[in-house]
């Protein structure tokens, strides 16, 4: 177990290094380079040469990469947004906590809804409710995320007036959490697609658990069907959900980008959208780097948690 953890952590470090290299290379394939991006199309050759010398862009590429890594590790320096005249790190620091709140609440909500839905479908398998929920989950993950968000706004905020059209605009995390009228729709919108795929996965995981020998044994010992379902089948069917959660993080983070844009939620996703609109490549690469870090950290946590929860796993 300890050996597995160490190997898994080393692997995560290697991946983080790879992500750093990838982001560094992406910054270098911009046609015209960083100087053109910062100074604009009308800059003269002399201005560009000066800019490159001042910022170290005339050094050999491995030297630039070394400087980039050192800045990243020592100061978490992700570069400078020339469009906003602000460091990329400080922009991300302002916005990241709000996104973590949104993603956290909606993922928790999604699991809490998807698990009972999956169980319900197994209990009522091949009955109308099973078909209805299966159909709904197919539509759920076949729908563009922004369409769902806009429809929710249209019906629940504009027509019915139950919730506000805009997400909470507060600057602090607490300000956002304490505005449920604004938070409900973004959370639900982001959770809906996760619910669709999780409930489907939960259904088949539960179905598989029901065919296992330990379920038959429990039945043979005379356990009530409720006890068999919740004590024996459900607890085992939940284990693969941990892995699924780890694998779903990139999708959820990508979904947050769309959801935040739809609801004008002031987080990392909206920042990324604005950076894309403004052609602000340094900021775009910064948010991409942080999103990738979150993914690596998430899947590492999921794997560790899995190893703790499932005693059958004997990692040598």
């Amino acid at each position: 177990m300890i050996g597995y953890l160490i190997r898994r952590i080393i692997q995560a470090i290697v991946v983080v290094f790879g992500v750093t290299l990838l982001v560094f290379l992406l910054a270098h394939i911009i046609p015209g380079g960083a100087a053109r991006a910062a100074l604009g199309q009308r800059a003269t050759e002399v201005q560009i040469r000066d800019f490159n010398r001042v910022n170290g862009y005339d050094l050999p590429i491995w030297h630039q990469f070394w400087d980039y890594c050192r800045g990243l590790i020592l100061h978490f320096n992700l570069g400078y947004s020339y469009k906003r005249n602000q460091g990329v790190s400080s922009l991300i620091q302002e916005n990241l906590p709000k996104t973590l709140v949104l993603v956290g609440i909606s993922t928790l909500f999604a699991v809490l809804v998807a698990v009972p839905l999956g169980v319900l479908q197994v209990v009522r398998r091949n009955k109308p409710i099973d078909y209805v929920l299966t159909g709904a989950s197919f539509v759920g993950y076949s729908m563009p995320a922004f369409l769902l968000g806009e429809l929710l706004i249209l019906y629940f905020a504009v027509d019915l007036g139950w919730f506000s059209v805009d997400a909470p605009q507060a600057n602090s995390v607490w300000g956002i959490v304490s505005d449920p009228r604004g938070l409900v729709l973004p959370v639900f919108s982001l959770a809906a697609i996760t619910i669709a795929s999780f409930s489907r996965y939960m259904r088949s995981s539960m179905m598989e658990a029901m065919t296992q020998d330990y379920v038959r044994t429990a039945r043979a010992k005379g356990a009530s069907s409720r006890r068999v379902l919740f004590r024996h089948a459900l607890r085992n069917a939940l284990i693969p959900i941990i892995t699924l959660l780890g694998l779903s993080i990139p999708g959820i983070v990508g979904g947050a980008l769309i959801t935040e844009t739809v609801f004008n939620f002031p987080g990392m996703g909206l920042l990324t959208y604005r950076a894309a609109i403004d052609n602000d490549v340094p900021l775009l690469l910064g948010t991409t780097f942080v999103a990738a870090l979150a993914t690596v950290a998430g899947s590492l946590l999921a794997d560790i948690f899995y190893a703790i929860v499932d005693p059958r796993v004997r990692y040598a």
Binding site: Q11, V14, V15, G18, V19, L21, L22, L26, I29, I30, P31, R125, N126, Y131, T134, F138, V139, Y141, S142, M143, P144, A145, F146, L147, E150, L151, L154, V158, S197, R200, Y201, S204, M207, E208, M210, T211, L247, P250, G251, V253, G254, L257, I258, T261, T272, Y273, A276, I277, N279, V281, L284, L285, T287, T288, A291, A292, T295, V296, S299
Partner: protein
């Protein structure tokens, strides 16, 4: 929903040793068999065929101008509701929506198929080579996949689309070259187990070299996995293009795709112009659900285990 594990009470049919010999007839016959058995897959395939006919043959019978706003406005007004001249109304530029669904659908479907094709070819070759050589080559190639997989797809696609300014060709390349990671992993996994099988050793003994073994013997044996994944890839590519359209990185005007139509439409949704959202929304959901139905049925037939769903 046809699923292998649905009927819990029935005993499992005896599986032939090694899983071989389950197929009756060739690949084509196998696929046909599944489609006849699975009604949802038939519905899905029918929807796909009808949508292809609608988008690509429809404009032959239903003439509308979809490239010049001025010409479009000669026959209509902006934002007009459905009427006898414009069965689904017009959009904010005066383009007829029924015709635009066909026109945008051509691009959505083209991007879907082309990107899925690129992703499949690249992923299959990458995965097969990685699995076949094994050792440090495999370790290095799979770390590359790990790194790219840890960057959320939407972010990577947006970065590339911003750097290379979207055009139809760039969009296909960007989506294709970012979506090959999953097929690469799947094919690599199967290759690892295939390369030690007897028939591969037999080819080696007969003097078959690496490229021949990979292309003629290993890849054809992973065809089930490849086809199933490619089906899901088309669905995902169409959705990804729609998301790009929403963040303003879709195909540039006057071309359009379903995603761009939708995101233009939602700007006007508050004015009650429902005909600018629902047709394009229904078209996307219909096609993506259809591909998912077909993919699910194919997966059951090939008994392929995938990571997703």
């Amino acid at each position: 929903m046809h699923e292998a594990t649905v009927d819990l009470l029935a005993p499992d049919p005896p599986a032939p040793a090694g899983g071989e010999g389950t197929s009756t007839g060739g690949l084509g016959a196998q696929v046909l068999h599944v489609f006849i058995e699975n009604r949802l897959a038939v519905v899905g395939a029918a929807v796909i065929v009808l949508m292809l006919l609608f988008c690509f043959l429809g404009p032959v019978f239903y003439h509308t101008n979809q490239t010049s706003t001025q010409n479009a406005l000669l026959n209509s007004t902006q934002n007009s509701p459905p009427s006898s001249t414009n069965p689904l109304g017009t959009d904010q530029s005066g383009f007829d929506i029924l015709g635009r669904i066909m026109y945008g659908g051509q691009i959505s479907l083209e991007v879907g198929f082309a990107a899925a094709g690129i992703a499949t070819v690249v992923g299959v070759l990458f995965g097969a080579i990685s699995g076949f050589f094994g050792g440090w080559v495999d370790a290095l190639m799979m770390r590359i996949v790990d790194v790219l997989l840890s960057v959320p797809l939407l972010f990577l696609v947006i970065v590339l689309a911003v750097i290379y300014h979207p055009s139809l060709k760039i969009l296909i390349l960007v989506i294709g070259f970012t979506a090959w990671l999953v097929p690469a992993r799947l094919v690599r996994g199967e290759t690892l187990s295939l390369r030690v099988r007897e028939f591969v050793q037999a080819v080696r003994v007969m003097g078959g070299r690496g490229p021949r073994i990979v292309l003629r013997h290993i890849i054809p044996n992973t065809i089930g996995t490849i086809i199933v994944n490619a089906t899901f890839q088309v669905a995902d590519a169409i959705l990804l293009l729609a998301a790009l359209g929403f963040v303003g990185l879709g195909v540039p005007a006057p071309k359009t795709d379903w995603g761009s139509m939708l995101s233009n439409g939602v700007n006007y949704a508050l004015d009650g112009y429902w005909w600018q959202i629902y047709p394009a929304g229904v078209a996307i959901v219909l096609v993506v659900v259809a591909f998912n139905f077909v993919g699910d049925a194919l997966r059951d037939s090939f008994e392929v285990r995938l990571q997703r769903r």
